[in-house]
Amino acid sequence: MDRKDNQSPQGETARILVEFLEVAITSIVFLKGVYPSGAFERRRYMNLVVQRACHPQLRDYIHSAVFGLLPFIQKGMVERAAVIFFNTDGIPVERFVFKLAVNQSYGSKVEDANLEFSLRSFLIKLSVSESLTKVLPRDYRWEITAYFRSLPEASANKDVEQWIPTDTRQWEQPPLLTPIKSMSSEPLCVQLYIEHPSLSEPKP
């Protein structure tokens, strides 16, 4: 809690957001049943029961990926962060997209409680969204991808290096979106939706 005092409201918001993303992404991975449920343990976050990965590598992957985004989010460079599930050919099957917008010029103090209330609704909705998702094929993999508004220039910061430019394989047709949850409050707007390949997408 001490950290709060010496940070700007944006910094604080970004930190909460990143924290939230870590939890949310873990929830998605849990939801999709990527790993056996024994690989997760019940935790409490924002007064909600959530899952947390037990395996250190998995936990570290999510944690470092998301916290690596922190400086970019603070600068407002991250447009979307996605959890992509793809098959063995590298073709995405399902993508969970977080669309982010942080109001950089928002000056006043962030109401923690309000923000928490909104973010909590994501986690609640997410936990009941399984019916909206697709059954994944065998041997699929997943990754976390972020879409930047512009490519960051090389920086001395070590954290930044963890994020490398990539190009995921895209669908040929525009995907179908299923919104899960949106929140728009000052200074933070987050939307979560699932992307599925369009019905007319050529099957591999």
Partner: protein, 1100 residues
């Protein structure tokens, strides 16, 4: 809440996780844990450290035989962890943290704010305990914010009698740095439930009334409470609430004379005095009384007379019998029934009129009214004398057998004879004696005894009926005396009070005797007094002093002093030592008001019952009004005869009963009879009982609010704001209407008239209405009887008025209009109203298609050119123009000179709204006529009107729309513009939408509105033909604007809306069309923003 804190809390809970964070906390806790153990023997078995390995080993060492033993082990482990942590946190933190929660052990149930982990943290820090699993033995308080209905209904099995408290209790206790009483923090859902005995003891200044009012014991064994019925000798008869339950249980068992009304009572009291030798006088008195009574009570009266003689001196008995012989015979046996609810329509009324306990109960309200100023006065001072507790002197004054002595105060000859007060003196009666004087008590007669038992003990016992008027009079005199001598008087009952005589000069004993003497002189009744250091002792002293004496108990300060200042938990201990720190204060506010009848309740059928209920409601409503309160929670209590119960010993009593109760809470407090009746009937219906089984009915109103407060609140909260907003709205509406009407009127008048040409010279608008509308327009003008304030007048309209009309208006405004127009001339004005008027007209016109051939009425304020050609163009577009054709050329002639000198004078807003062809025409035409003027002006104002931009903008604007105007911001404002617009529309579906906006809570989001609509049957929305296209157009526009507004930030909302719309579309032709129009637009925008299409699954 930061992740940090959550983590550490979590790590505390689970010791065997392996993140570094918790490891460190474990290593921290271990040493102190051990330390704790050495100091605390209670921990018993060595449990080892909290480390993973040891817990493992202990796991294997003690294989759990079953789940139970596992839980025991687990609980113990959790407990150890908690203690370990508690010791670290108290050691680690500043040592000054007070263990305020000492002895408190909480169990958190369900979701709370703050979370259970935080609460746990507080308990850790402040010396409390936290249980992870509920146990009746270890837990002292249950903390929760919300309970499911099932738990509420079955509260006892859920809470096991433990207090259920909101988490704020803990927070505020921490803030206050002391343990606050949990009672005010009781869960709201339970607050209306009856408080428990424990509440009674913990509450420092507890409302005794409340505690006692609930108690079943009062009802179950009336015998035990008998002594307390002897008014003033026991602590339980304090307040009105208390008296209520007593009423239920021991409701005066008047055998037959329960319904004697007051008048007859009065006469009875007089009689004995006169009776000895003049029996005829009695006889005379009776008929005269009858005259004054209404018919129902006549019967009762007669009947009571039938029994009355034996109450009086015996010589009268025969006489009376004789006199009354004939009438009483007619009403002998069967009429007994009339006392029950069966026969008497005024049962409830009479019941309470004759209830002594009702008298005591309602007495408090009378007292408060009478001595309001006095008690208010000392209320202010009562708080600041806490400190001087040592020297306080409290006097308790109590009238000696009040009910008897008041009645016999004028019968000196009866003073030393055994006398009792009771409803009936039937020798064999089961009426209960409510009060007996001391000679009678010597015979062993006690209050609450049945008359037949009393008569058996003392055959010459004289029994008097009640005389409520006299009681009231004496009580008032009594209090006048008390208020004269002490400025701090706390009324306990009508005949009993506490005085704080700390501040009065002189010996309190002298004062007491003075007061007693005065009471005797004014009332003719004796009183006893007790003086001591506190209320409890004073009261006990009075008991010793009785009858007609006084007693002083000198304070044993030394022994008591050390008990002062102890916590509320030890209150009981204190009481047993005779310590009571309460100050003399005001009577507590009533927590509930109600009425209950359980004597003589017998119903034949449902109608009877309903009838009785509505009378009961009347009574309760009167009581509410009498107390000046309104209530929100209504509890209906029913006594239902047990299956195997026999007819009760007590005549018409309730016998062995099951007690049932249902309650309901309404949002707005009320004391209205009709509301009460409605609610009560509902509640009654929910019992599903056979009415013949009902033996008692009670209605209790709680959650009281003062009438004045609620009225004020109402005014402040809703009425005023509603009024202002409404007036604002109507004003605006008026304005709009006014403009519209004016312009239409002007159109009518001007049609084919040269004056219009002149008007146009001024600026303006050509509005052409139908001939058929002429009279209409004029009428409308007349309707606007009150002119709007001058500042609200629209310049455009004013200018366009025909001269006659203008001068007329000018007259109305006393000549100010001319100045106003002059001042405003040349100023640019907001186009909004005129435009709105225009579109309004337009829609109206469209509705009347067939009869209406129309031209757009363009009201231009800013000297806008309306080109001749352009006009003809419009004329061509609209076929069957009747008046227009003749008109257009006429105006056209004058028009050619009206083209402004430059484009900069053209209002761009208007220009944009024009149909494209028309606009192109204007733009083309303008340079042709005034090229030389135009071009330099463009140079002069390049930023103001970039021509290209204008062109493209208009093109865009027109691309999707038809040829009429809509403002682009339907969703602006609260409420959004469209709501107003739709409300005044005469298209059903638009009206419904506007209505739903308010119904859905005015959130400004569309999805709640649509959800509300889905509750209306959709297909009926199709049932309109007029203005289908208009409605379709405007709704599509609304949706499009909404999509635009939300697409970027709230795709979820849009998604929800469209799923609802699609559901509507399945049932409604209209919505299918609309959906099909808007859907492509939606997908295009989604594609633009998200690079995909919304997935409208076909499942639902």
């Amino acid at each position: 809440m930061s992740m940090e804190s959550t983590r550490s809390a979590n790590s505390a809970k689970r010791s065997f996780n392996n993140n570094s964070n918790s490891a460190s906390s474990n290593s921290n806790s271990n040493p102190s844990n051990k330390k704790k153990k050495t100091s605390q023997k209670t921990l018993g078995v060595a449990w080892g450290s909290n480390s993973r390995s040891s817990s493992r080993s202990s796991f294997s060492n003690s294989p759990f035989s079953n789940f139970g033993s596992y839980m025991v082990e687990k609980n113990r482990k959790l407990q150890n962890q908690f203690e370990a942590e508690a010791s670290t946190s108290s050691h680690g933190g500043s040592g000054s943290v007070k263990p305020i929660f000492d002895g408190v052990s909480i169990f958190v149930d369900g979701f709370t704010v703050p979370s259970s982990q935080e609460l746990r943290g507080y308990m850790l820090k402040h010396g409390g305990r936290f249980e992870n699993y509920f146990s009746r033995r270890r837990v002292t308080h249950i903390i929760c914010s919300n309970l499911p209905d099932s738990k509420i209904k079955n509260l006892r099995s859920f809470s096991r009698g433990l207090p259920v408290v909101k988490p704020t209790w803990i927070l505020e206790s921490v803030t206050a740095n002391k343990l606050l009483s949990w009672v005010p923090y009781q869960l709201d859902q339970l607050a209306n439930n009856q408080p428990k005995l424990s509440a009674f003891f913990t509450l420092k200044r507890s409302s005794v009334s409340n505690g006692a009012s609930t108690h079943a014991p009062c009802q179950v064994n009336p015998e035990a409470e008998d002594s307390s019925l002897k008014v003033g000798t026991s602590g339980d008869t304090y307040f009105s609430e208390v008296s209520e339950p007593f009423e239920h249980s021991k409701q005066i068992s008047g055998e037959s004379d329960d319904l004697v009304d007051e008048n007859s009572n009065a006469s009875l009291v007089e009689e004995p005095a006169n009776s000895s030798g003049k029996p005829c006088e009695v006889a005379m008195a009776v008929p005269s009384n009858i005259d004054t009574e209404d018919e129902s009570s006549v019967k009762n009266y007669l009947q009571s007379n039938h029994y009355q003689p034996s109450a009086l001196v015996s010589s009268n008995c025969i006489n009376n019998q004789n006199m009354k012989g004939s009438p009483s015979s007619t009403v002998s046996e069967p009429s007994n029934q009339s006392h029950s609810t069966l026969g008497d329509p005024n049962f409830v009324e009479n019941y309470f009129k004759n209830s002594r306990l009702h008298f005591i109960g309602t007495w408090r309200n009378r007292y408060r009214k009478r001595f309001r100023t006095l008690s208010d006065g000392f209320n202010c001072t009562s708080s600041n004398i806490k400190a001087s507790a040592l020297k306080t002197a409290i006097m308790h004054v109590d009238m000696d057998c009040f009910f008897v002595s008041v009645v016999i105060r004028n019968h000196l000859e009866l003073r030393d004879k055994p006398v009792a007060v009771c409803h009936s003196d039937n020798r064999k009666g089961t009426a209960e004696i409510s009060s007996a004087n001391y000679p009678a008590r010597d015979y062993g007669i006690k209050a609450g005894m049945f008359v037949r038992d009393a008569k058996a003990l003392c055959p010459h016992l004289v029994i008097f009926p009640y005389n409520f008027e006299a009681y009231e009079e004496v009580a008032d005199q009594f209090y006048s005396v008390l208020h004269k001598h002490g400025n701090k008087v706390q009324a306990v009952s009508c005949d009993e009070a506490f005085l704080d005589v700390t501040d009065s000069e002189g010996d309190p004993q002298l004062l007491a005797s003075k007061i007693r003497r005065e009471i005797f002189e004014t009332t003719g009744c004796t009183a006893s007094a007790g003086i001591a250091g506190n209320m409890l002792m004073a009261r006990l002293a009075t008991r010793t002093a009785k009858p007609d004496g006084q007693c002083y108990i000198p304070p044993e300060r030394d022994s008591l002093q050390k008990d002062f200042g102890l916590k509320t938990g030890e209150m009981l201990w204190n009481y047993s030592r005779g310590v009571d720190n309460r100050l003399v204060g005001l009577i507590q506010e009533s927590k509930s008001v109600g009425a209950e009848v359980n004597w003589g309740v017998r119903f034949k059928d449902v109608k009877d019952a309903q009838n009785f209920l509505s009378n009961l409601c009347k009574e309760v409503s009167l009581r509410l009004q009498g107390c000046g309160v309104e209530g929100r929670t209504f509890t209906l209590k029913i006594k239902k005869r047990r299956k195997d119960a026999e007819e009760p010993t007590k005549y018409m009593g309730h016998g062995d009963c099951e007690n049932l109760s249902h309650s309901t809470t309404v949002p707005v407090a009320t004391d209205d009879v009709e509301v009460l009746q409605r609610i009560t009937k509902q509640l009654f219906g929910s019992f599903h009982l056979d009415v013949k089984e009902i033996r008692g009915v009670g209605l209790q109103v709680s959650r009281l609010e003062s009438t004045e407060n609620s009225k004020q609140g109402l005014e402040r909260n809703s009425l005023k704001s509603w009024l202002t907003s409404a007036s604002a709205r109507t004003e605006e509406l008026c304005k709009n209407n006014y403009v519209a009407k004016e312009s239409s009127n002007q159109g009518c008048e001007g049609e084919g008239d040269e004056t219009l040409g002149q008007l146009c010279g001024n600026s303006v608008g050509l509005s052409i209405q139908m001939d058929s509308n002429t009279s209409n327009g004029a009428a409308c003008l007349n309707e606007v009887s009150v002119p709007p304030p001058i500042c609200h007048l629209d310049m455009g309209v004013l200018k366009s008025l025909p001269p006659e009309l203008f001068s007329e208006l000018n007259e109305i405004y006393g000549g100010k209009l001319v100045d106003f127009v002059a001042k405003n001339k040349g100023k640019t004005e907001n186009m909004n109203h005129t435009l709105r008027a225009y579109s309004h007209e337009k829609i109206e016109g469209a509705m009347k298609e067939g009869q209406a051939a129309l031209l757009p009425s363009m009201v231009f304020q800013n000297e806008i050119p309306v080109e001749n050609k352009a006009k003809q163009h419009i004329a061509k577009e609209v076929p069957a123009v009747s008046g227009a054709e003749s008109f257009v050329p006429a105006s056209g002639l004058t028009k050619t000179d009206l083209i402004p000198s430059s484009l900069s004078q053209v209002d761009t807003a208007v220009l944009q709204q024009l149909p494209e062809e028309l606009k192109v025409d204007i733009l083309e035409h303008l340079p042709a006529h005034r090229m030389q003027v135009f071009s330099p002006n463009v140079l002069l104002y390049p930023t103001e009107i970039p021509l290209e931009a204008l062109g493209t903008k208009t093109a865009e604007n027109n691309s999707g729309s038809k040829d009429f105007v809509l403002d682009n911001n339907l969703w602006f404002g609260t409420p959004p513009h469209w709501v107003e617009k739709f409300k005044v529309s005469n298209c059903l579906i638009l009206n419904i939408l506007a209505e739903m906006y308010y119904k859905s809570g005015s959130t400004g989001n569309l999805s709640p509105i649509l959800q509300c609509i889905s509750s209306v049957s959709i297909h009926q929305l199709d049932a309109f033909q007029d203005g289908w296209d208009e409605a379709m157009y405007i709704l599509c526009e609304l949706l499009k604007q909404y999509i635009k507004l939300k697409i970027e930030l709230d795709i979820e909302e849009i998604y929800v809306c469209f799923r609802l719309l699609r559901r509507f579309a399945m049932k409604s032709e209209f919505f299918i069309q609309m959906y099909n129009i808007v859907y492509p637009y939606l997908q295009a925008l989604v594609g633009e923003n998200y690079g995909g299409n919304l997935h409208m699954s076909l499942k639902d």
